[in-house]
Homo-oligomer: 435 residues x 2
């Protein structure tokens, strides 16, 4: 089993994490704090940190922290210098960046981390982001066409120095072997480059490609290029289906499906018991429960009012409730509601969060991960702790030992590079399928 | 007097620096080595490091190191984490990057360095670079039009959070004050953004703008936006003229000319005496003397052959020599040649290098700097040591104390930010002239 951790804004996954007791209120811009959390994840032997990205200001900045990281590449540069083993995966948009610049920065990260870099290659879909770049969003088809070209150009640039091309031999005075440095010369409909990149290979050859897109087009991109996919899945059945679809896509692209690892998200709020965990969760997201009651009602097929927030569903409501087929999370929401929790507590269970959520003792997280892993629903997980400061230590100090004890998780890093950690082969030179 | 240092490839300014004794042959990708050199410059109380950029592979990679840094932003992120006071200035192309991405990364650098970042805003003129980005170079006029738009958008994004906008007040639960966060909404012919940037101000408000372009268009950009200009000047007269033109441009733009600092380049090869310094210089650039003899001849109005490399000019040649009016360096070249040095030694004096070069004892560098500074030819210098490993320590340990003793250079950093070091005011919010 592999473990990644989402590495966000310096506070944690919950919007109110920034104001919890003991949390550094300047964590968003405090790189000492960011590096300290990365070091903590490394102490837990996590295979990688994963940075989503959203280059625009969130609307509710008055009370909630900007959800994502200040700037992924600068943050990972700092983390690379402050850690030794953990992999470093950042999202980089194929829609709003230049492939040469992106290839160069990720390769530099790969070199400075001694082979621990990964690039999550995604198109951008948000009109607010597009406006920051002064353009309208391209149509979906075009975005994916550009993504294919972008990845091929980036891989071409990364591979433009073959293994052994950099000699730096002071005795002979030979700095590099020009015969092993090739131009790229790719030209598509949207993008082109001549190359080569002026950077030698890293200890893992070149960075690992991740993908997090959705739909058939995202699947095709992942199947062709990715070694890791971070999924957004709520049920084990959905996760297994997505993982299988991904493996099929890899095979269609002529690859060994074991070279693509599928990661299911898991949000955690850990406390000794359910009640304490729910209270913890409520304390860090107190501003945002009322507006969610209406949607909870839709999930349950009921007209609910936020006045009922402190009360459970009535017997009549429970009898009338029908889980919505539009939202895979509805069945779980009804199960929790049936246990008699107040609507606030139902929501605090994370029933409308982006990923499954464990709100309770740490063993529940271990059980969840073991069940999904053994059912073939995931090769690993990307963990989203509620608050790094005091929500990450239980994962490192309690969850990991349980998983190790059960023989599910490694006791230490075996190799040095992210490719070692993921069990995917080093890649030098250009992908032969792209030449 | 202010001092910056060019921060290049991890070896030094001379192409053969990488193979000199004691030099780390992997310095190009070894961030420990890069950070160590930055720390050394900081020990010398230099005001800033300056990173030129060239995003393409140089042709003579077989024997010479890639001349410039592996990737300026990732390098400065590492340096920011490894230093406390020195300013960090990187070149970023306005031709081949997205203003939102560039603004975000420099602002992140400014935050992680606690107000020490600067951006050298330049258009790109090299067709090899353009080919790496899959495009032809735009016409010069258009490049500068885009540069103006680019700088205004970047400054707008940097200023989109006013001073005090970021509250992070855990007691009241107020993360930011939305009334102090403004959209940018700039749209030009080439570029646009809505903004705001999701990043708060740094300790100096926002990064410092540098410029290094040439010609009237570069001058206008510098006059309007820059606080520092790194010039390429060979004679004191030329430097003084450029500095005065720059100050005039600032006044035309309605600014106090003292807010723009002009830096003259100075290359150094330091040794106890001239002969030892010339030998040092020859040892680190031995591959490249022969092809330069022909150009030296053009400078002197003579037809010279590389067979004469080890010999001085003959009396007949000296009598016939006339310094070329096309190249300001020719008068100095003839002066050196007249002293009876071999052609190799004449070239080793740096007579056709990009900047004036001191090849000799360290006091000659101090004298050069004092003379130019007192003549109003520069507010400071950007030093280009031949080899960082053993060519930077004499600047830190010998040159700086001489300048301090003469009352020309500060004994320690007075402030914390790059704006403090340069004596230019902090800037919060947007520049009122751009609203």
């Amino acid at each position: 089993m592999l473990i990644g951790m989402v590495f966000g804004n310096g506070y944690g996954s919950q919007a109110g994490a920034w104001r919890m007791p003991g949390v550094d209120p300047t964590g968003f811009t405090n790189f000492d704090t960011l590096v300290r959390y990365a070091q903590l994840a490394e102490r837990g032997k996590f295979q990688f940190l994963f940075m989503p990205d959203f280059p625009a200001l969130r609307a509710d900045i008055a009370t909630d922290a900007q959800q994502l990281n200040i700037e992924p590449m600068m943050t990972l540069a700092a983390v690379a210098r402050g850690t030794e083993r953990i992999g470093l995966v950042a999202t980089g948009s194929s829609t709003f960046s230049e492939p040469f610049n992106l290839a160069r920065q990720f390769k530099a990260l790969d070199l400075m981390s001694h082979g621990r870099a990964g690039w999550n290659a995604v198109p951008t879909s948000d009109p607010m982001v597009a406006a920051n770049f002064g353009r309208a969003l391209p149509p979906r088809f075009e975005k994916y066409e550009r993504l294919h070209e972008f990845v091929q150009i980036v891989q071409g640039l990364w591979g433009s120095w073959e293994q052994g091309a950099w000699l730096h031999d002071q005795v002979s005075g030979r700095f590099a072997d020009p015969a092993k440095i090739k131009p790229v010369n790719l030209r598509g409909r949207h993008l082109a480059t001549s190359g080569p990149l002026p950077l030698p290979p890293s200890e893992q050859g070149q960075p690992v490609i991740f993908q997090a897109g959705g739909g058939d087009q995202g699947l095709e991109v992942a199947g062709r290029y990715a070694s890791g996919v971070t999924g957004a899945v709520f049920t084990m059945e959905d996760a297994r289906a997505q993982r299988m679809a991904l493996r099929d896509a890899a095979e269609r692209a002529g690859r060994d499906p074991d070279e693509i690892k599928f990661f299911a998200g898991l949000m955690t709020t850990i406390a000794p018991n359910r009640r304490a965990a729910l209270d913890r969760r409520i304390a860090m997201s107190g501003f945002s429960f009322e507006p969610r009651v209406g949607y909870l009602g839709q999930m349950l097929g009921l007209a609910l009012d936020s006045a009922q927030l402190g009360e459970p569903l009535t017997k009549a409501q429970l009898a009338a409730a029908r889980p919505s087929r539009q939202d895979l999370r509805s069945t779980y929401a009804l199960k929790v509601a049936s246990e008699g929790w107040s609507l606030r507590d139902v929501l605090a269970h994370g029933v409308i969060d982006y990923h499954p959520m464990v709100v309770g003792p740490v063993v529940e997280a271990a059980d969840h991960m073991q069940t999904w892993f053994e059912a073939g629903a995931a090769d690993g997980f990307w963990l989203c702790p509620d608050v790094y400061e005091d929500g990450l230590p239980p994962l490192v100090d309690d969850l990991v030992p349980i998983l190790q004890e059960r023989g599910l998780f490694h006791r230490d890093y075996q190799g040095a590079t992210l490719r070692d950690h993921l069990g995917v082969p080093a890649q030098y030179g250009r992908d032969p399928r792209l030449q």
